[in-house]
């Protein structure tokens, strides 16, 4: 018995070593995938309340990665384009969550009061501002830029990820005639149609990530 167990020990060990080997090349890519369930998350909002994706089940949810000092974000806020989009979406019953992922000590990091002040000062209209200083939400979604937009449909499936519009530029002039991927996707979802451009390349400043602890 011992004899064949020792043998099994050896070969099972071999099988294991090869398993571990096969699992080696883990992709460095973000997790979120259009058509798959949107990654669940939990984060503190600007009021200090814990929020999670599950509480919005049955509603369309938009995630907006933002950094108030990023020129690309400023383009959309200084022109009131972003606020207009937020208000229109609120009218449609869409939940808008702005996410700030800069960790403490990094550019763009804000605490709750500052986040609220920014919202008020810019007349922005998100349902909540989520603070993600450990970059957990950003990692779960693979957010790369500010802005970076994600739309979760009422069934919890990720329906859109990518750029806010089709003009990857920080210049205010680029807003004229830009096609809003977000408006398009939300309209198509509402009409029960498939999202025609469900995954686009986002543009903007790099999301500042907290080191993996």
């Amino acid at each position: 018995m011992t004899a064949h167990q020792t043998c099994k020990t050896f070969i099972a060990g071999l099988a294991f070593a090869s398993l571990a080997f096969a699992a080696g090349p883990v992709l460095a890519q973000g997790a979120a995938k259009v058509g798959a369930p949107a990654p669940a998350f939990q984060a503190i909002d600007a009021d200090g309340k814990t929020r999670n994706l599950a509480e919005f089940a049955g509603k369309t949810v938009i995630l907006e990665w933002t950094n108030h000092d990023c020129p690309y974000v400023r383009k959309h806020y200084n022109s009131a384009t972003m606020q207009g989009l937020q208000k229109d979406m609120a009218k449609e019953g869409v939940v808008w969550l702005s996410v700030i992922s800069s960790p403490i000590g990094e550019q763009g990091h804000v605490e709750g009061p500052m986040a609220k002040e920014l919202t008020a000062k810019r007349d922005a209209a998100p349902a909540a501002v989520l603070l993600d200083p450990d970059s957990k939400v950003a990692r779960a979604y693979g957010a790369t830029t500010t802005p970076h937009m994600y739309i979760v449909d009422p069934k919890g499936t990720l329906a859109y990820m990518g750029a806010i519009d089709d003009k990857p530029s920080s210049s205010a002039a680029s807003l004229t005639g830009a096609k809003s991927y977000v408006r398009q996707a939300v309209a198509e979802l509402k009409a029960g149609k498939p999202v025609s451009e469900a995954s686009t390349k986002s543009y903007g400043c790099a999301v500042k990530y907290a080191p993996v602890s």
Binding site: M1, T2, A3, H4, Q5, T6, C7, K8, T9, F10, I11, A12, G13, L14, A15, S18, L19, A20, A22, A23, P25, V26, L27, A28, Q29, G30, A31, A32, K33, V34, G35, A36, P37, A40, A54, D69, C70, P71, Q107, G142, T144, T145, K155, T157, M161, P168, S170, P194, S196, A198, S199, T200, K201, S202, G204, C205, A206, V207, K208, Y209
Partner: protein, 728 residues
């Protein structure tokens, strides 16, 4: 100094004339043909001309120069994960034209965990200017350029600058030697056109870029695509080399889109330590182009979950835990696991009269083996799911070399059970040996092995539970897998803790030897099945590789037996064994590569695509989709007992059911995505779509019967609406 002087001169025509004279008189002080600098704390930019004067009809080079402060960078054409390329807009006098920016090869600039493509230090972006043939000597042409660039460190600042260069037209060009030298130097390091074409193909989730003209001994090879929707910029690009050249493995961009069969990019590498770059064009496999065009906007057929809803909100944690536990328990009865459990039970029977505490210890060690193996596999499955990659339960069986390794393991166990060889101490030492470390490790490893061989099976209840596990936060997911592990280990642990049950086992004797030998045959059967899986995955090469691996394993075992007695023989034996192991391993890895396509194996089925489902529905035909894999025993069992039955075939024909097969034997991202959409981590999955446009699919249970299939077919054909309404 000269810059400012020149700027001053540009603004004042008369001064310029004077300066020209001055320059001709004092060549040592020749002013560079360089515009006034636009300077910020981050970038000092100028427009540099290789000419002080130009001649009619000639082409010459200018360059936008960026001196970038330390720590900051500007961007290449494809900026990578964030950023924006430098742009130049020209305002040129009529007749003059400017070419495109001639981009040097970028550097990958990591901003953990992202990667940008750009430049640090001093950057020259050369542009060719064509002077019209009818330009008149004596005239002055004014080049005006408005450049915008984004400069980033941790923060990003968009900057812009306007540059003006006044260049007199003369009969003979006056070359600014130092400017010409700087621009020549910049052009010398531009990527050279590659003298070969790359080929881009798909391999599951990744892309393979074959580079036939690249030598295998180069280092730091990296591909920078011009398109920003091709690859995951931050992913490593592992390189493999063979006699045909070098292949880079690239991770697909999450926004993957390829609209043109020809794509371009830049290759950078070090050749003997010298950095080089090549401008590459590559031909993409046609499937990649069309698939990509559709993938971005592919309409997907609607699905409704009837029997067992698995969306996170629908299945509670407790239900998932209960399903998992039950599923684990049932998994024990699956044909792949049974032989391993036989062995364990046999061990207990031998031990029954030895010591109750030893049996108990063995049971607990088996439990530990099961649980830790489940946790490792769950970690991998959940980890990959979190990364959006298409793996699921049984994923390791998608790797032909691992399937072959398992086949070898099964064969060796079989021969061991037959008594063809012994390893380690002799069999007489069993009683004492069991308390030894080998016995403990053995019990643990039996648990591990049981789990590994169980992965091809999905028992009833398991699919939904695992689907739940991979869509929940990792802690909940691991809890579900833990429940699965506990359910799986329960029978053996219960046996080890129940003296009553153990006493029921007959005394060890000759029957045990016979039974032990008999158990060799399920092992061989499993090995045969695994080799068949390898043949489906890799074709004849897979079978050859598997049999060579079995041969090598047998040879090594035999060697270790005959060389046991003398030190020298052992040395030679070990050396030969190592050679055989490496040789066979190498051969397996070479031969057992997944076939490019995995086609539906039955003649009367079609290959699944979401578009095909919609098209068939639009024709009014009910559609049955069978998500299966050659390594999935439950799938094969269903095919034998239900799908291939004559009455089912007749019902399908009568109701005009279209039968589509989604074969997940090899990795396939579309299938993985479809499974994920149904909240499933693996196969089998059976969907029945009604024969009307956009009709929602019904999910069938994981164990099929001819009756349940025919009833579902009738429902899908709209013949049995009452049953549908009554379903939970």
């Amino acid at each position: 100094m000269t810059t400012q002087l020149m700027a001053l001169m540009s603004r004042h025509g008369f001064l310029r004339q004077a300066a020209l004279v001055l320059a001709l008189l004092a060549p040592g002080l020749a002013p560079a043909a360089e515009s006034a600098a636009v300077t910020t704390p981050r970038v000092s930019a100028t427009l540099l001309s290789s000419r002080d004067t130009v001649t009619p009809g000639e082409r010459f080079q200018v360059a936008l120069v960026q001196k970038i402060s330390k720590g900051w960078h500007t961007y290449w054409q494809n900026p990578g994960d964030s950023g924006e390329a430098t742009r130049i807009e020209w305002a040129l006098p009529a007749g003059l034209s400017a070419g495109e920016i001639q981009w040097p090869a970028p550097k990958a600039l990591p901003v953990e965990p992202l990667v940008n493509f750009g430049f640090e230090g001093t950057l020259l972006l050369p542009v060719e200017i064509a002077v019209p043939a009818d330009a008149k000597p004596g005239q002055t042409i004014t080049l005006k350029a408005n450049a915008t660039w984004l400069v980033c460190e941790k923060i990003c600042i968009p900057e812009e600058g306007s540059f003006t260069l006044d260049l007199p037209v003369a009969q003979a060009a006056v070359v600014d030697e130092s400017a010409q030298a700087r621009i020549d130097q910049a052009r010398a390091i531009l990527p050279q056109p590659a003298d070969f074409k790359g080929r881009l193909s798909a391999e599951g989730e990744s892309l393979l870029l074959a580079l036939p003209g690249i030598a295998a001994d180069i280092r730091d090879l990296r591909f920078f695509p011009l398109s920003d929707t091709l690859i995951d910029h931050a992913a490593p690009q592992p390189m493999t080399a063979d006699s045909n050249g070098v292949t880079l493995q690239l991770a697909r961009s999450s926004a993957f889109k390829l609209t043109n069969a020809e794509l371009s990019g830049v290759l950078t590498y070090k050749d003997g330590g010298v950095p080089r770059s090549l401008a590459l064009t590559a031909e993409a496999a046609p499937a990649l182009v069309t698939a990509a065009g559709q993938a971005a906007s592919a309409p997907r057929p609607a699905v409704v979950r009837l029997p067992m809803p698995v969306e996170g909100a629908d299945l509670t944690l407790w239900a998932a835990l209960a399903f998992a536990f039950l599923g684990g328990l049932i998994l024990n009865l699956m044909p792949c696991v049974l032989p391993v459990l036989f062995i364990k039970a046999l061990g207990f029977a031998q031990l029954a009269r030895a010591s109750r505490s030893e049996v108990r210890e063995q049971g607990l060690l088996f439990l530990a083996g099961v649980v830790s193996t489940f946790m490792v596999l769950a970690g991998i499955v959940i980890g990959f799911a979190a990364l959006g990659s298409g793996v699921g339960w049984g994923f390791q069986l998608q790797s032909p070399p691992l399937v072959i390794a398992l086949a070898v393991v099964m064969t060796l166990i079989g021969f061991n059970l037959l008594g063809a060889f012994e390893v380690g101490t002799s069999v007489q030492g069993v009683g004492h040996g069991l308390a030894s470390r080998g016995g403990r490790v053995g019990a643990f490893m039996t648990g591990a092995l049981a789990v590994v061989v169980a992965t091809p099976c999905t028992a009833p209840f398991m699919g939904a539970a695992m689907g739940y596990a991979v869509t929940q936060p990792p802690a909940l997911g691991l809890a579900v897998f833990m429940a699965l592990a506990l359910g799986f280990a329960l029978p053996v642990v219960a046996l080890s803790f129940a003296p009553g049950l153990l006493r029921l086992l007959p005394k060890p004797g000759r029957w045990m030897v016979v039974l032990k030998q008999a158990f060799a045959f399920p092992m061989f059967a499993t090995a045969i099945w695994l080799i068949w899986v390898a043949s489906v995955q890799s074709g004849p090469g897979g079978v050859l590789a598997a049999l060579v691996a079995v041969l090598a394993a047998g040879f090594i075992v035999w060697l270790s037996g005959v060389s046991r007695d003398s030190g020298r023989a052992r040395l030679i034996g070990s050396a030969l064994g190592v050679v055989a192991a490496f040789g066979a391993g190498w051969f397996v890895l070479q031969s057992a590569v997944p076939s490019a396509t995995s086609e539906a194996r039955a003649a009367d089925t079609q290959v699944w695509t979401p578009e095909r489902v919609m098209a068939l529905q639009a024709e009014g035909r009910p559609v049955f989709v069978n998500f299966t894999a050659a390594w999935c025993i439950t799938c094969l069992a269903n095919e034998r007992v239900a799908l291939s039955r004559q009455e089912v075939k007749e019902a399908f024909a009568e109701l005009k059911v279209a039968y589509l097969k989604a074969d997940w034997t090899n990795r396939n991202s579309a299938i993985a995505q479809a499974l994920a959409e149904q909240g499933r981590a693996g196969v089998p999955l059976y969907l029945f779509y009604p024969g009307k446009r956009d009709g929602q699919a019904e999910i069938l249970p994981q164990l099929l019967t001819p009756d349940s299939l025919i009833t579902a077919a009738r429902r899908a054909a709209g013949l049995d609406l009452k049953t549908v309404a009554n379903r939970p």
